[in-house]
């Protein structure tokens, strides 16, 4: 490599040259696209290596616990660069999502030092944190000796940084000044509409703007399309039914799961008048226009039905619509995306978020090496690599969302995706109340929803029973 070529790529990695100028310069120097990618990777490593001793744990081996996910795939595709940068050996176990969190719970509750770092969601840290299973990463982020000066923690979207930090006090605000940073956001999803444009054209309907319109549009699609159902939402007896579209819509009406009373006592708020009205609309929408076997629907069925043309739209994770618009899916290229505010009076969407994050096990014996890995995997350089070259959506860094290569790629193949994100991102955060009984509460909430949809219990009565049951559990746990 000549000095001129190296200087050009180093200047780009350091942010002194734009992507367009880099490409022009590379073309002038006669560099092919493949060579350019290689040089870009090398320059990124060198840029990262500046002012920080990445090699301090050279020769150490760490082990990761990963969920089978495009984020993990992107990381594995780039892992050689990490090894080259640090001299740290990395091994990993990958588990399918159905059993992934059981494996994490088993590993951590047994205080095993088998895994040094692992993938997690923010909700899970409300269990892992108080149990003492994960490290408060502020110890590292705030220590300039341990953290790369170019790590740019502030570049991570603020809603995601705060959503992954909690002080451990039930009902305590996420991201408060005394909050512990239980994990580092890695990739995230917010909840909006993804719809089949061909089906919408066929049924001559426009994209709904609020919950009433959503319900009416879904009913019309179900009636007019003669096969596909109108709206796909999750319905299994699990916490995962509550957190996507359901809670995003619920929060948009200003409804809450709990109110925090005097002395920090939590009181269930699902039986408020507003909540009951929202539940009635939601339940009716599923009864009229949801999948027939809705009560068994996880994210997988919601997504595959959209991709296979079995449903006309979904109110779920935006990345689900993203992935269903590619690959070998029948409806590839037919999907569109739109931001969604359920409340007609709301100014903007308030999507609840799911954040795939990286956490460090308290039982790890190689914490410094694990932190090196976590910094690298959540770095701007790796985020850019994933966003440009792999399906690493949605990236968590603001600067990646401004990257023109990433934006061009998404805009070309996923019409409306960037817009739905940009409109929703300011209001995107976790809308649940942070408390240790999160999974008890949300699973029971999903169970009650199932009973309402199956007409086993009227909505008002079901929500009163749910609130009473949750209040009892809170009291038993000393939280209510």
């Amino acid at each position: 490599m000549t000095d001129r070529i190296k200087d050009l790529f180093d200047a780009y990695a350091a942010g002194r040259v734009s992507r367009r100028d880099l490409m022009r310069g590379a073309a002038r120097l006669g560099i092919t696209a493949a060579s350019a990618n290689f040089l870009l990777g090398s320059s990124a490593i060198e840029a990262m290596a500046a002012d920080y001793d990445w090699q301090a744990q050279k020769g150490t081996a760490i082990k990761l616990l990963l969920d089978k996910h495009p984020y993990a795939d992107a990381m594995i595709a780039d892992i050689e660069n990490f090894k080259k940068l640090t001299g740290i050996e990395v091994t990993y176990d990958v588990f399918p999502e159905d059993v992934y969190f059981d494996k994490v719970t088993a590993a951590l509750s047994s205080k095993s030092d088998q895994y040094d770092a692992f993938m997690t969601g923010a909700y899970m840290t409300w269990t892992y944190g108080p149990a003492g299973w994960v490290v408060d990463l502020n110890e590292y982020i705030k220590d300039p000796k341990k953290t790369n000066p170019n790590f740019a923690w502030d570049d991570v979207l603020p809603g995601l940084r705060s959503s992954t930090a909690w002080n451990g006090v039930p009902g305590g605000a996420l991201g408060s000044a005394d909050a512990k940073q239980w994990c580092i956001p890695w990739g995230y999803e917010l909840n909006n509409l993804a719809y089949n444009r061909k089906m919408f054209d066929k049924a001559k309907v426009s994209v709904p703007k609020n919950l009433s319109e959503l319900s009416a549009t879904a009913a019309k699609l179900t009636k007019d399309l003669g096969g596909p159902y109108g709206i796909g939402v999750r319905g299994s007896r699990s916490w995962a039914t509550i957190h996507p579209g359901f809670l995003s819509g619920y929060s948009n009406f200003g409804e809450k799961d709990f109110t925090v009373g005097p002395g920090g006592k939590l009181k269930a708020a699902m039986n408020s008048a507003g909540s009951k009205a929202f539940h009635k609309q939601w339940v009716q929408m599923i009864q009229e226009s949801g999948p027939k076997n809705w009560s068994t629907y996880t994210w997988y069925q919601v997504g595959t039905d959209l991709g296979a043309g079995a449903s006309a739209m979904i109110f779920d994770a935006d990345i689900l619509g993203y992935f269903e618009n590619g690959g070998d899916n029948k409806e590839k290229g037919n999907l569109g995306y739109a931001p969604f505010a359920a409340n007609p009076a709301a100014k903007a969407p308030t999507p609840n978020v799911w954040i795939w994050s990286l956490a460090m096990s308290s039982f790890s014996r190689k914490k410094d090496a694990a932190w090196k890995f976590m910094q690298w995997a959540t770095s701007l350089e790796h985020d850019l690599f994933g966003a440009r070259k792999m399906d690493f959506v949605n990236p968590v860094r603001a600067s990646v969302w401004k990257d023109e290569v990433f934006r061009d790629r998404i805009a070309k193949s996923y019409p409306g995706y960037l817009e739905q994100h940009d409109v929703s991102a300011p209001g995107a955060k976790i809308y649940f109340t942070a408390q240790p009984l999160f999974f008890d509460v949300t699973t029971q909430w999903a169970e009650t929803l199932q009973k309402m949809v199956a007409k086993e219990v009227p909505v008002d009565e079901g929500l009163d029973q749910l609130a009473a049951s949750i209040d009892k559990q809170m009291r038993e746990a000393g939280l209510g």
């Binding site: 059981d102 007896r237 009560s295």
Partner: protein, 307 residues
Amino acid sequence: MTSQPIDDSVRVVHRRPVEWLPYLLSLPALLVCIGILIPFVTALYYSTLRFRLNLPALKGFIWFGNYTNLLYDPEFWNTVSISLRYTAISVGVELVLGLIVALLLQRRTRINNMISVLLLLPLMTAPAIAALMWKLMTNPSFGILSYLVSLAGVSDFRWASSPSSALFTVVLVDVWVYTPFIMVLLLAGLRSLPQQPFEAAALDGVPRLFVFFRITLPMLSPYIITASLFRLLDAIQQFDIVYAMTQGGPGNTLLVFQVRAYLEFYQYTNVGKSAALLVVLWAITYLLSNIFIKNWLRLRERSHASA
């Protein structure tokens, strides 16, 4: 006498292995017992604690608090009820079907032998995989069974996703997987029955129904009880089929013991409650096993006495 010292040495050489051998031989059994007893005693201990992994400050002895909480919890009684109903219906249906198939295949012919081997195939399928297969087949949108049911004039049958048909659906999967188990045990029993009573009945022209109820069934009872016991122990601890198909739903329709205990531990990290549920399940299983074993012993004594 020169032989005396030699005899002594021989006696000494033989005595040592004889002393240690019984202990050595029983060592594996002892190790297995320890392997069973340690988790059992640990579960008993945990069941006396208020112990949530995510609320370590609340950990403490509450003695029988977890059990009394269960007794006053309507959800617990729903779990007891659904577990017993699931067990009774699935084992009952499997027993009847298994017996019918075994009677049909009793005669040793090439075709019967081939069919009996083919019928074992569902038993070789992991129950969780079988549940996923059936989940696809019963999908109301594209499942083959939904299509067949619609041909029979039943539209909008929602299988495991409706509270009214969820139990039926999971029992159906259980029956598909485990009927061959009952069949193979009863077939072995039928083929090993002494032939004289049947030959005598045939000579006397006794009706076949009478032979079945008065000769076949009583002689087959030990086999029926053994097969039922095995299936009963398995069915009351059902997890994979129910969890893979419905996760215990819709609502709380299929929240059987194991699914509930699993959720309590892995999702809610409530170790104390999960352990208490499993101890109650163990007690029920122990009780049912005792009843069956006592009956089995009584029948065996009766058959020995009549012989």
